[in-house]
Symmetry: C2
Subunit: 290 residues, 2 copies
Protein backbone atom coordinates (compact mmCIF):
# COMPACT_ATOMS: atom_id res chain seq x y z
CA UNK A 1 0.00 0.00 0.00
CA UNK A 2 1.39 3.42 -0.92
CA UNK A 3 1.98 5.40 2.23
CA UNK A 4 -0.70 8.02 2.79
CA UNK A 5 -2.73 7.08 -0.32
CA UNK A 6 -5.55 5.66 1.75
CA UNK A 7 -6.52 7.84 4.68
CA UNK A 8 -9.13 5.33 5.78
CA UNK A 9 -10.12 1.68 5.29
CA UNK A 10 -11.71 1.97 1.84
CA UNK A 11 -12.96 -1.59 1.98
CA UNK A 12 -15.05 -0.78 5.07
CA UNK A 13 -16.19 2.54 3.59
CA UNK A 14 -17.53 1.03 0.37
CA UNK A 15 -19.06 -2.10 1.82
CA UNK A 16 -22.82 -1.90 1.73
CA UNK A 17 -24.30 -1.58 5.19
CA UNK A 18 -27.84 -1.90 6.56
CA UNK A 19 -28.90 1.68 5.80
CA UNK A 20 -27.48 1.72 2.29
CA UNK A 21 -29.17 3.94 -0.30
CA UNK A 22 -27.69 3.92 -3.80
CA UNK A 23 -29.12 7.41 -4.42
CA UNK A 24 -26.82 8.79 -1.76
CA UNK A 25 -23.63 7.53 -3.42
CA UNK A 26 -21.89 10.25 -5.42
CA UNK A 27 -20.24 8.61 -8.46
CA UNK A 28 -17.62 11.39 -8.51
CA UNK A 29 -16.58 10.96 -4.90
CA UNK A 30 -13.35 9.26 -3.81
CA UNK A 31 -13.98 7.93 -0.28
CA UNK A 32 -10.92 7.05 1.74
CA UNK A 33 -8.38 9.08 -0.18
CA UNK A 34 -7.48 12.66 -0.95
CA UNK A 35 -5.10 11.57 -3.71
CA UNK A 36 -5.30 12.20 -7.45
CA UNK A 37 -4.99 10.34 -10.74
CA UNK A 38 -1.20 10.20 -10.72
CA UNK A 39 -1.10 8.87 -7.18
CA UNK A 40 -3.75 6.32 -8.12
CA UNK A 41 -1.54 4.78 -10.79
CA UNK A 42 1.36 4.68 -8.35
CA UNK A 43 -0.78 3.01 -5.69
CA UNK A 44 -1.98 0.39 -8.20
CA UNK A 45 1.59 -0.57 -9.10
CA UNK A 46 2.83 -0.34 -5.51
CA UNK A 47 0.18 -2.77 -4.24
CA UNK A 48 0.51 -5.22 -7.13
CA UNK A 49 3.11 -7.30 -5.31
CA UNK A 50 0.91 -7.58 -2.22
CA UNK A 51 -1.96 -8.74 -4.43
CA UNK A 52 0.17 -11.26 -6.32
CA UNK A 53 1.74 -12.60 -3.13
CA UNK A 54 -1.68 -13.31 -1.64
CA UNK A 55 -2.86 -14.93 -4.86
CA UNK A 56 0.18 -17.16 -5.05
CA UNK A 57 -0.32 -18.38 -1.48
CA UNK A 58 -4.01 -19.01 -2.14
CA UNK A 59 -3.10 -21.02 -5.23
CA UNK A 60 -0.20 -22.83 -3.54
CA UNK A 61 -2.23 -24.01 -0.57
CA UNK A 62 -4.89 -25.44 -2.87
CA UNK A 63 -2.27 -27.76 -4.39
CA UNK A 64 -2.11 -29.49 -1.03
CA UNK A 65 -5.81 -29.66 -0.37
CA UNK A 66 -7.05 -26.27 0.86
CA UNK A 67 -10.45 -25.47 -0.66
CA UNK A 68 -10.59 -21.69 -0.31
CA UNK A 69 -11.19 -19.66 -3.44
CA UNK A 70 -12.50 -16.18 -4.25
CA UNK A 71 -15.27 -15.15 -6.64
CA UNK A 72 -15.47 -11.48 -7.61
CA UNK A 73 -18.64 -10.39 -9.40
CA UNK A 74 -18.47 -7.12 -11.37
CA UNK A 75 -21.70 -5.38 -12.28
CA UNK A 76 -22.22 -1.93 -13.75
CA UNK A 77 -23.90 0.16 -16.40
CA UNK A 78 -22.16 0.05 -19.79
CA UNK A 79 -18.87 1.95 -20.04
CA UNK A 80 -18.55 2.11 -16.25
CA UNK A 81 -15.07 0.61 -16.44
CA UNK A 82 -15.42 -3.14 -15.91
CA UNK A 83 -12.98 -3.76 -18.74
CA UNK A 84 -10.46 -1.38 -17.25
CA UNK A 85 -10.74 -3.11 -13.87
CA UNK A 86 -10.07 -6.45 -15.54
CA UNK A 87 -7.17 -5.15 -17.62
CA UNK A 88 -5.52 -2.97 -14.97
CA UNK A 89 -6.27 -4.71 -11.67
CA UNK A 90 -6.88 -8.39 -12.35
CA UNK A 91 -4.41 -8.56 -15.25
CA UNK A 92 -1.72 -8.16 -12.60
CA UNK A 93 -2.51 -11.65 -11.29
CA UNK A 94 -0.84 -14.82 -12.51
CA UNK A 95 -2.97 -16.40 -15.26
CA UNK A 96 -2.93 -19.83 -13.56
CA UNK A 97 -4.91 -18.51 -10.62
CA UNK A 98 -7.40 -16.32 -12.49
CA UNK A 99 -10.57 -17.54 -14.20
CA UNK A 100 -12.44 -14.80 -16.04
CA UNK A 101 -15.94 -15.31 -17.40
CA UNK A 102 -17.62 -12.58 -19.45
CA UNK A 103 -21.32 -13.41 -19.45
CA UNK A 104 -23.21 -12.41 -22.59
CA UNK A 105 -26.92 -12.52 -23.44
CA UNK A 106 -28.05 -16.07 -22.75
CA UNK A 107 -27.96 -18.42 -25.73
CA UNK A 108 -31.13 -20.22 -26.84
CA UNK A 109 -29.94 -23.33 -24.99
CA UNK A 110 -29.17 -21.36 -21.82
CA UNK A 111 -32.66 -19.85 -21.94
CA UNK A 112 -34.21 -23.30 -21.66
CA UNK A 113 -32.54 -23.78 -18.27
CA UNK A 114 -32.80 -22.09 -14.89
CA UNK A 115 -30.82 -18.85 -14.84
CA UNK A 116 -28.12 -20.32 -12.60
CA UNK A 117 -27.46 -23.26 -14.94
CA UNK A 118 -24.78 -21.46 -16.90
CA UNK A 119 -23.25 -19.92 -13.78
CA UNK A 120 -22.56 -23.07 -11.77
CA UNK A 121 -19.82 -24.41 -14.11
CA UNK A 122 -18.01 -21.06 -13.89
CA UNK A 123 -17.62 -21.12 -10.11
CA UNK A 124 -13.84 -21.15 -9.53
CA UNK A 125 -12.03 -24.23 -8.28
CA UNK A 126 -9.84 -24.31 -5.15
CA UNK A 127 -7.08 -21.70 -5.08
CA UNK A 128 -8.45 -19.78 -8.04
CA UNK A 129 -9.77 -16.23 -8.18
CA UNK A 130 -12.89 -16.32 -10.32
CA UNK A 131 -13.94 -13.08 -11.95
CA UNK A 132 -17.39 -12.53 -13.44
CA UNK A 133 -17.80 -9.66 -15.89
CA UNK A 134 -21.58 -9.52 -15.58
CA UNK A 135 -23.21 -12.49 -13.91
CA UNK A 136 -26.44 -13.99 -12.59
CA UNK A 137 -27.27 -10.45 -11.46
CA UNK A 138 -28.21 -9.60 -15.05
CA UNK A 139 -31.16 -11.88 -14.43
CA UNK A 140 -32.52 -9.40 -11.89
CA UNK A 141 -31.23 -6.25 -13.63
CA UNK A 142 -31.86 -6.10 -17.39
CA UNK A 143 -34.38 -8.91 -17.03
CA UNK A 144 -36.32 -6.87 -14.50
CA UNK A 145 -36.02 -3.55 -16.33
CA UNK A 146 -36.98 -5.09 -19.66
CA UNK A 147 -39.57 -7.43 -18.12
CA UNK A 148 -37.91 -10.39 -19.86
CA UNK A 149 -39.28 -12.49 -17.01
CA UNK A 150 -42.57 -12.03 -15.09
CA UNK A 151 -42.43 -10.21 -11.72
CA UNK A 152 -42.95 -13.37 -9.66
CA UNK A 153 -40.01 -15.02 -11.43
CA UNK A 154 -37.78 -11.98 -10.76
CA UNK A 155 -38.94 -12.11 -7.16
CA UNK A 156 -38.02 -15.80 -6.91
CA UNK A 157 -34.53 -15.10 -8.21
CA UNK A 158 -33.41 -12.89 -5.31
CA UNK A 159 -33.93 -15.76 -2.93
CA UNK A 160 -32.42 -18.25 -5.35
CA UNK A 161 -29.29 -16.09 -5.60
CA UNK A 162 -28.92 -15.86 -1.83
CA UNK A 163 -29.30 -19.64 -1.54
CA UNK A 164 -26.87 -20.29 -4.39
CA UNK A 165 -24.24 -17.98 -2.96
CA UNK A 166 -24.63 -19.56 0.47
CA UNK A 167 -24.17 -23.01 -0.99
CA UNK A 168 -20.94 -22.12 -2.80
CA UNK A 169 -19.73 -20.17 0.26
CA UNK A 170 -20.17 -23.37 2.27
CA UNK A 171 -17.94 -25.11 -0.28
CA UNK A 172 -15.11 -22.64 0.33
CA UNK A 173 -15.93 -19.81 -2.10
CA UNK A 174 -15.66 -16.28 -0.75
CA UNK A 175 -18.17 -14.33 -2.86
CA UNK A 176 -17.62 -10.60 -3.28
CA UNK A 177 -19.91 -8.45 -5.41
CA UNK A 178 -18.87 -5.07 -6.73
CA UNK A 179 -20.98 -2.44 -8.46
CA UNK A 180 -19.08 0.24 -10.34
CA UNK A 181 -21.21 3.34 -10.06
CA UNK A 182 -20.97 6.07 -12.70
CA UNK A 183 -23.21 9.03 -13.48
CA UNK A 184 -25.22 9.21 -16.72
CA UNK A 185 -23.18 12.27 -17.74
CA UNK A 186 -19.95 10.33 -17.37
CA UNK A 187 -21.41 7.45 -19.35
CA UNK A 188 -22.35 9.79 -22.21
CA UNK A 189 -18.82 11.18 -22.31
CA UNK A 190 -17.31 7.70 -22.41
CA UNK A 191 -19.67 6.43 -25.10
CA UNK A 192 -18.92 9.50 -27.22
CA UNK A 193 -15.18 8.95 -26.80
CA UNK A 194 -15.61 5.48 -28.30
CA UNK A 195 -17.10 7.15 -31.37
CA UNK A 196 -14.19 9.57 -31.61
CA UNK A 197 -11.61 6.86 -32.18
CA UNK A 198 -11.87 4.23 -34.96
CA UNK A 199 -9.72 1.93 -32.80
CA UNK A 200 -12.50 1.99 -30.21
CA UNK A 201 -15.50 1.49 -32.52
CA UNK A 202 -15.50 -2.22 -31.72
CA UNK A 203 -16.23 -1.42 -28.09
CA UNK A 204 -19.36 0.51 -29.04
CA UNK A 205 -22.72 -1.19 -29.09
CA UNK A 206 -25.81 0.79 -30.17
CA UNK A 207 -27.83 -1.25 -27.70
CA UNK A 208 -25.94 0.46 -24.86
CA UNK A 209 -27.85 3.67 -25.64
CA UNK A 210 -31.17 1.83 -25.52
CA UNK A 211 -30.35 0.68 -21.99
CA UNK A 212 -29.01 4.13 -21.09
CA UNK A 213 -32.42 5.64 -21.76
CA UNK A 214 -33.77 3.50 -18.94
CA UNK A 215 -31.25 4.82 -16.41
CA UNK A 216 -33.70 5.43 -13.51
CA UNK A 217 -35.16 1.95 -13.93
CA UNK A 218 -31.68 0.45 -13.78
CA UNK A 219 -30.79 2.38 -10.64
CA UNK A 220 -33.98 1.05 -9.04
CA UNK A 221 -33.12 -2.48 -10.12
CA UNK A 222 -29.57 -2.18 -8.78
CA UNK A 223 -30.80 -0.77 -5.50
CA UNK A 224 -33.29 -3.59 -5.01
CA UNK A 225 -30.84 -6.30 -6.07
CA UNK A 226 -28.20 -5.00 -3.67
CA UNK A 227 -30.65 -4.74 -0.81
CA UNK A 228 -32.06 -8.21 -1.36
CA UNK A 229 -28.74 -10.01 -1.80
CA UNK A 230 -26.34 -8.16 0.50
CA UNK A 231 -25.59 -10.90 3.01
CA UNK A 232 -22.69 -11.61 5.35
CA UNK A 233 -21.51 -14.58 3.29
CA UNK A 234 -21.59 -12.62 0.02
CA UNK A 235 -21.33 -8.86 0.56
CA UNK A 236 -21.81 -6.03 -1.91
CA UNK A 237 -19.45 -3.11 -2.43
CA UNK A 238 -20.48 -0.01 -4.37
CA UNK A 239 -17.49 1.79 -5.87
CA UNK A 240 -17.83 5.37 -7.16
CA UNK A 241 -16.38 5.07 -10.65
CA UNK A 242 -16.47 8.43 -12.41
CA UNK A 243 -12.75 8.63 -11.66
CA UNK A 244 -11.21 5.53 -13.23
CA UNK A 245 -8.03 5.80 -11.18
CA UNK A 246 -10.09 5.76 -7.99
CA UNK A 247 -12.26 2.81 -8.99
CA UNK A 248 -9.22 0.73 -9.93
CA UNK A 249 -7.29 1.49 -6.75
CA UNK A 250 -10.41 0.89 -4.63
CA UNK A 251 -11.26 -2.45 -6.25
CA UNK A 252 -7.66 -3.57 -5.89
CA UNK A 253 -7.71 -2.68 -2.19
CA UNK A 254 -11.06 -4.45 -1.68
CA UNK A 255 -9.69 -7.62 -3.27
CA UNK A 256 -6.51 -7.40 -1.19
CA UNK A 257 -8.58 -6.95 1.99
CA UNK A 258 -10.75 -9.95 1.14
CA UNK A 259 -7.66 -12.07 0.44
CA UNK A 260 -6.09 -11.04 3.75
CA UNK A 261 -9.33 -12.06 5.42
CA UNK A 262 -8.96 -15.53 3.85
CA UNK A 263 -5.41 -15.67 5.33
CA UNK A 264 -3.80 -18.11 2.89
CA UNK A 265 -0.65 -19.88 4.10
CA UNK A 266 2.25 -21.56 2.33
CA UNK A 267 1.43 -25.27 2.51
CA UNK A 268 3.57 -27.83 4.30
CA UNK A 269 5.34 -30.26 1.96
CA UNK A 270 3.88 -33.76 1.65
CA UNK A 271 7.34 -35.22 0.96
CA UNK A 272 10.64 -35.51 2.83
CA UNK A 273 12.84 -32.62 1.72
CA UNK A 274 16.13 -34.33 2.63
CA UNK A 275 15.19 -37.53 0.80
CA UNK A 276 14.22 -35.60 -2.31
CA UNK A 277 17.39 -33.55 -2.24
CA UNK A 278 19.44 -36.76 -2.12
CA UNK A 279 17.50 -38.28 -5.03
CA UNK A 280 18.25 -35.28 -7.21
CA UNK A 281 21.90 -35.08 -6.17
CA UNK A 282 22.33 -38.79 -6.90
CA UNK A 283 21.04 -38.20 -10.40
CA UNK A 284 23.35 -35.34 -11.32
CA UNK A 285 26.33 -37.49 -12.26
CA UNK A 286 24.35 -39.92 -14.37
CA UNK A 287 25.98 -40.16 -17.78
CA UNK A 288 23.26 -40.76 -20.26
CA UNK A 289 24.25 -41.95 -23.72
CA UNK A 290 24.31 -39.03 -26.20
Amino acid sequence: MTKHFWTDDVSALLRVGPDFDLRRVDPSSTPGTAADKRAGATELAASAQELRGLQEKLFAQSRLGAEDRLLVVLQAMDAAGKGGIVNHVFAQLEPYGLALTAFKSPTPEERTHDFLWRVEPRVPGPGVIGLFDRSHYEDVLIQRVRAFAPPEEIERRYGAIVDFERRIADAGVRVVKIMLHISPEEQAARLLSRLDDPEKYWKYNPGDVDERLLWPDYMDAFGIAIERTNVEHAPWYVVPANAKWYARAAVQRIVISELHRMAPEWPQPDFDVAVERARIEDSIDLRWPA
Copy 2:
Protein backbone atom coordinates in the same frame (compact mmCIF):
# COMPACT_ATOMS: atom_id res chain seq x y z
CA MET B 1 11.49 -4.54 -30.26
CA THR B 2 14.49 -3.18 -28.39
CA LYS B 3 17.00 -1.86 -30.89
CA HIS B 4 19.89 -4.26 -31.39
CA PHE B 5 18.54 -6.91 -29.01
CA TRP B 6 17.82 -9.32 -31.83
CA THR B 7 20.63 -9.56 -34.36
CA ASP B 8 18.63 -11.99 -36.46
CA ASP B 9 15.04 -13.24 -36.97
CA VAL B 10 14.81 -15.49 -33.93
CA SER B 11 11.47 -16.87 -35.05
CA ALA B 12 13.07 -18.21 -38.24
CA LEU B 13 16.12 -19.48 -36.37
CA LEU B 14 14.13 -21.52 -33.85
CA ARG B 15 11.50 -22.87 -36.21
CA VAL B 16 12.02 -26.56 -36.81
CA GLY B 17 13.17 -27.27 -40.37
CA PRO B 18 13.41 -30.45 -42.43
CA ASP B 19 16.86 -31.48 -41.15
CA PHE B 20 16.10 -30.81 -37.51
CA ASP B 21 17.91 -32.89 -34.90
CA LEU B 22 17.06 -32.18 -31.25
CA ARG B 23 20.46 -33.54 -30.18
CA ARG B 24 22.15 -30.68 -31.99
CA VAL B 25 20.29 -27.98 -30.06
CA ASP B 26 22.41 -26.56 -27.23
CA PRO B 27 20.06 -25.67 -24.33
CA SER B 28 22.53 -22.99 -23.18
CA SER B 29 22.71 -21.24 -26.54
CA THR B 30 20.97 -17.94 -27.30
CA PRO B 31 20.42 -17.88 -31.08
CA GLY B 32 19.67 -14.48 -32.59
CA THR B 33 21.05 -12.33 -29.82
CA ALA B 34 24.31 -11.44 -28.14
CA ALA B 35 22.50 -9.76 -25.26
CA ASP B 36 22.38 -10.72 -21.59
CA LYS B 37 19.88 -11.20 -18.77
CA ARG B 38 19.43 -7.52 -18.06
CA ALA B 39 18.80 -6.71 -21.72
CA GLY B 40 16.37 -9.62 -21.88
CA ALA B 41 14.13 -8.12 -19.22
CA THR B 42 14.26 -4.78 -20.99
CA GLU B 43 13.33 -6.38 -24.31
CA LEU B 44 10.40 -8.19 -22.71
CA ALA B 45 8.97 -4.96 -21.34
CA ALA B 46 9.77 -2.97 -24.48
CA SER B 47 7.91 -5.41 -26.74
CA ALA B 48 4.93 -5.81 -24.43
CA GLN B 49 3.02 -2.98 -26.10
CA GLU B 50 3.53 -4.49 -29.56
CA LEU B 51 2.23 -7.81 -28.25
CA ARG B 52 -0.80 -6.27 -26.56
CA GLY B 53 -1.61 -4.14 -29.58
CA LEU B 54 -1.70 -7.19 -31.84
CA GLN B 55 -3.80 -9.10 -29.33
CA GLU B 56 -6.29 -6.27 -29.01
CA LYS B 57 -6.74 -6.08 -32.79
CA LEU B 58 -7.15 -9.83 -33.02
CA PHE B 59 -9.80 -9.70 -30.31
CA ALA B 60 -11.50 -6.61 -31.74
CA GLN B 61 -11.89 -8.02 -35.23
CA SER B 62 -13.49 -11.17 -33.83
CA ARG B 63 -16.30 -9.05 -32.36
CA LEU B 64 -17.33 -8.27 -35.93
CA GLY B 65 -17.04 -11.75 -37.31
CA ALA B 66 -13.38 -12.54 -38.03
CA GLU B 67 -12.59 -16.13 -37.08
CA ASP B 68 -8.80 -16.01 -36.62
CA ARG B 69 -7.39 -17.15 -33.32
CA LEU B 70 -4.04 -18.43 -32.09
CA LEU B 71 -3.25 -21.58 -30.12
CA VAL B 72 0.16 -21.80 -28.46
CA VAL B 73 1.17 -25.23 -27.15
CA LEU B 74 3.95 -25.33 -24.53
CA GLN B 75 5.78 -28.59 -23.93
CA ALA B 76 8.90 -29.23 -21.90
CA MET B 77 10.55 -31.35 -19.25
CA ASP B 78 9.63 -30.37 -15.67
CA ALA B 79 11.14 -27.12 -14.39
CA ALA B 80 12.02 -25.99 -17.92
CA GLY B 81 10.20 -22.71 -17.39
CA LYS B 82 6.67 -23.12 -18.74
CA GLY B 83 5.29 -21.37 -15.68
CA GLY B 84 7.67 -18.48 -16.11
CA ILE B 85 6.67 -18.11 -19.76
CA VAL B 86 3.01 -17.98 -18.73
CA ASN B 87 3.62 -15.51 -15.89
CA HIS B 88 6.11 -13.26 -17.65
CA VAL B 89 5.13 -13.36 -21.33
CA PHE B 90 1.46 -14.28 -21.57
CA ALA B 91 0.50 -12.50 -18.35
CA GLN B 92 1.16 -9.30 -20.27
CA LEU B 93 -1.92 -9.95 -22.41
CA GLU B 94 -5.42 -8.74 -21.59
CA PRO B 95 -7.29 -11.48 -19.71
CA TYR B 96 -10.29 -11.25 -22.07
CA GLY B 97 -8.24 -12.51 -24.98
CA LEU B 98 -6.24 -15.22 -23.22
CA ALA B 99 -7.48 -18.73 -22.47
CA LEU B 100 -5.00 -20.81 -20.49
CA THR B 101 -5.44 -24.53 -20.00
CA ALA B 102 -3.03 -26.47 -17.78
CA PHE B 103 -3.50 -30.13 -18.68
CA LYS B 104 -2.96 -32.59 -15.84
CA SER B 105 -2.90 -36.39 -15.78
CA PRO B 106 -6.13 -37.53 -17.42
CA THR B 107 -9.02 -38.20 -15.04
CA PRO B 108 -10.71 -41.60 -14.98
CA GLU B 109 -13.49 -40.21 -17.18
CA GLU B 110 -11.01 -38.69 -19.64
CA ARG B 111 -9.24 -42.03 -19.90
CA THR B 112 -12.42 -43.66 -21.18
CA HIS B 113 -12.38 -41.34 -24.22
CA ASP B 114 -10.05 -40.79 -27.15
CA PHE B 115 -7.04 -38.70 -26.10
CA LEU B 116 -8.30 -35.65 -28.03
CA TRP B 117 -11.70 -35.65 -26.30
CA ARG B 118 -10.56 -33.37 -23.50
CA VAL B 119 -8.58 -31.14 -25.86
CA GLU B 120 -11.32 -30.18 -28.31
CA PRO B 121 -13.34 -28.07 -25.80
CA ARG B 122 -10.19 -26.10 -24.96
CA VAL B 123 -9.55 -24.92 -28.52
CA PRO B 124 -9.80 -21.11 -28.34
CA GLY B 125 -12.73 -19.22 -29.82
CA PRO B 126 -12.39 -16.42 -32.42
CA GLY B 127 -10.09 -13.59 -31.39
CA VAL B 128 -8.67 -15.46 -28.43
CA ILE B 129 -5.10 -16.60 -27.80
CA GLY B 130 -5.31 -20.11 -26.40
CA LEU B 131 -2.38 -21.32 -24.33
CA PHE B 132 -1.83 -24.98 -23.49
CA ASP B 133 0.54 -25.75 -20.60
CA ARG B 134 1.06 -29.38 -21.61
CA SER B 135 -1.34 -30.75 -24.16
CA HIS B 136 -2.26 -33.70 -26.35
CA TYR B 137 1.50 -34.11 -26.87
CA GLU B 138 1.71 -35.73 -23.44
CA ASP B 139 -0.13 -38.59 -25.10
CA VAL B 140 2.93 -39.26 -27.27
CA LEU B 141 5.53 -38.22 -24.68
CA ILE B 142 4.99 -39.62 -21.17
CA GLN B 143 2.55 -42.14 -22.61
CA ARG B 144 5.24 -43.40 -24.99
CA VAL B 145 8.08 -43.33 -22.46
CA ARG B 146 6.00 -45.05 -19.80
CA ALA B 147 4.27 -47.37 -22.27
CA PHE B 148 0.87 -46.26 -20.93
CA ALA B 149 -0.48 -47.10 -24.37
CA PRO B 150 0.65 -49.88 -26.74
CA PRO B 151 3.07 -48.95 -29.55
CA GLU B 152 0.43 -49.15 -32.30
CA GLU B 153 -1.79 -46.73 -30.39
CA ILE B 154 1.10 -44.28 -29.92
CA GLU B 155 1.79 -44.63 -33.64
CA ARG B 156 -1.85 -43.87 -34.48
CA ARG B 157 -1.75 -40.71 -32.40
CA TYR B 158 0.89 -38.92 -34.48
CA GLY B 159 -1.42 -39.05 -37.48
CA ALA B 160 -4.46 -38.22 -35.37
CA ILE B 161 -2.68 -35.11 -34.07
CA VAL B 162 -1.74 -33.94 -37.56
CA ASP B 163 -5.35 -34.44 -38.71
CA PHE B 164 -6.77 -32.69 -35.64
CA GLU B 165 -4.47 -29.71 -36.00
CA ARG B 166 -5.30 -29.45 -39.69
CA ARG B 167 -9.01 -29.46 -38.94
CA ILE B 168 -8.78 -26.65 -36.39
CA ALA B 169 -6.38 -24.74 -38.65
CA ASP B 170 -9.08 -24.91 -41.35
CA ALA B 171 -11.48 -23.35 -38.83
CA GLY B 172 -9.19 -20.35 -38.34
CA VAL B 173 -6.84 -21.51 -35.59
CA ARG B 174 -3.14 -20.79 -36.07
CA VAL B 175 -1.44 -23.58 -34.14
CA VAL B 176 2.08 -22.95 -32.84
CA LYS B 177 3.96 -25.53 -30.80
CA ILE B 178 6.90 -24.63 -28.62
CA MET B 179 9.33 -26.93 -26.82
CA LEU B 180 11.40 -25.34 -24.08
CA HIS B 181 14.69 -27.21 -24.11
CA ILE B 182 16.81 -27.41 -20.96
CA SER B 183 19.74 -29.63 -20.03
CA PRO B 184 19.46 -32.26 -17.29
CA GLU B 185 22.07 -30.35 -15.27
CA GLU B 186 19.96 -27.20 -15.39
CA GLN B 187 16.88 -29.19 -14.38
CA ALA B 188 18.69 -30.60 -11.35
CA ALA B 189 19.72 -27.12 -10.25
CA ARG B 190 16.16 -25.83 -10.59
CA LEU B 191 14.60 -28.77 -8.75
CA LEU B 192 17.12 -28.33 -5.93
CA SER B 193 16.33 -24.63 -5.71
CA ARG B 194 12.68 -25.52 -5.08
CA LEU B 195 13.83 -27.55 -2.09
CA ASP B 196 15.91 -24.64 -0.77
CA ASP B 197 12.90 -22.38 -0.29
CA PRO B 198 9.82 -23.34 1.77
CA GLU B 199 7.78 -20.91 -0.37
CA LYS B 200 8.60 -23.08 -3.38
CA TYR B 201 7.93 -26.50 -1.87
CA TRP B 202 4.46 -26.52 -3.41
CA LYS B 203 6.03 -26.43 -6.87
CA TYR B 204 8.01 -29.58 -6.18
CA ASN B 205 6.64 -32.96 -7.15
CA PRO B 206 8.64 -36.09 -6.30
CA GLY B 207 7.32 -37.64 -9.51
CA ASP B 208 9.38 -35.13 -11.49
CA VAL B 209 12.54 -36.99 -10.43
CA ASP B 210 11.07 -40.29 -11.60
CA GLU B 211 10.58 -38.79 -15.05
CA ARG B 212 13.99 -37.13 -14.92
CA LEU B 213 15.66 -40.54 -14.62
CA LEU B 214 14.23 -41.36 -18.06
CA TRP B 215 15.78 -38.28 -19.70
CA PRO B 216 17.18 -40.03 -22.82
CA ASP B 217 13.83 -41.71 -23.45
CA TYR B 218 12.09 -38.36 -23.20
CA MET B 219 14.51 -36.75 -25.63
CA ASP B 220 13.82 -39.58 -28.08
CA ALA B 221 10.08 -39.15 -27.62
CA PHE B 222 10.32 -35.37 -28.13
CA GLY B 223 12.45 -35.82 -31.24
CA ILE B 224 10.01 -38.28 -32.79
CA ALA B 225 6.92 -36.24 -31.86
CA ILE B 226 8.42 -33.10 -33.36
CA GLU B 227 9.47 -34.88 -36.53
CA ARG B 228 6.10 -36.55 -37.02
CA THR B 229 3.96 -33.48 -36.32
CA ASN B 230 6.00 -30.57 -37.65
CA VAL B 231 3.75 -29.43 -40.48
CA GLU B 232 3.25 -26.14 -42.30
CA HIS B 233 -0.18 -25.57 -40.74
CA ALA B 234 1.13 -26.25 -37.21
CA PRO B 235 4.87 -25.68 -36.87
CA TRP B 236 7.20 -26.54 -34.01
CA TYR B 237 9.72 -24.20 -32.45
CA VAL B 238 12.47 -25.46 -30.12
CA VAL B 239 13.65 -22.77 -27.72
CA PRO B 240 16.92 -23.20 -25.79
CA ALA B 241 15.81 -22.56 -22.23
CA ASN B 242 18.75 -22.85 -19.85
CA ALA B 243 18.75 -19.06 -19.80
CA LYS B 244 15.28 -18.02 -18.63
CA TRP B 245 15.66 -14.47 -19.93
CA TYR B 246 16.43 -15.82 -23.39
CA ALA B 247 13.55 -18.28 -23.48
CA ARG B 248 11.06 -15.61 -22.41
CA ALA B 249 12.24 -13.03 -24.93
CA ALA B 250 12.36 -15.64 -27.69
CA VAL B 251 8.86 -16.98 -27.02
CA GLN B 252 7.50 -13.45 -26.90
CA ARG B 253 9.11 -12.67 -30.25
CA ILE B 254 7.78 -15.92 -31.79
CA VAL B 255 4.25 -15.06 -30.65
CA ILE B 256 4.59 -11.51 -31.97
CA SER B 257 5.83 -12.85 -35.32
CA GLU B 258 2.94 -15.26 -35.58
CA LEU B 259 0.45 -12.52 -34.75
CA HIS B 260 1.98 -10.23 -37.39
CA ARG B 261 1.59 -13.10 -39.84
CA MET B 262 -2.13 -13.23 -39.01
CA ALA B 263 -2.29 -9.48 -39.75
CA PRO B 264 -5.30 -8.53 -37.61
CA GLU B 265 -7.08 -5.28 -38.53
CA TRP B 266 -9.34 -2.90 -36.62
CA PRO B 267 -12.84 -3.86 -37.70
CA GLN B 268 -15.18 -1.52 -39.56
CA PRO B 269 -18.18 -0.40 -37.49
CA ASP B 270 -21.52 -2.07 -38.21
CA PHE B 271 -23.40 1.09 -37.18
CA ASP B 272 -23.62 4.70 -38.39
CA VAL B 273 -21.21 6.75 -36.30
CA ALA B 274 -23.02 10.07 -36.87
CA VAL B 275 -26.40 8.59 -35.99
CA GLU B 276 -25.05 7.09 -32.80
CA ARG B 277 -23.33 10.31 -31.80
CA ALA B 278 -26.62 12.18 -32.19
CA ARG B 279 -28.49 9.59 -30.12
CA ILE B 280 -26.06 10.00 -27.22
CA GLU B 281 -26.01 13.79 -27.45
CA ASP B 282 -29.81 13.89 -27.46
CA SER B 283 -29.80 11.92 -24.23
CA ILE B 284 -27.40 14.12 -22.30
CA ASP B 285 -29.94 16.72 -21.26
CA LEU B 286 -32.56 14.24 -20.16
CA ARG B 287 -33.59 15.12 -16.64
CA TRP B 288 -34.44 11.91 -14.91
CA PRO B 289 -36.36 12.11 -11.65
CA ALA B 290 -33.98 11.77 -8.69
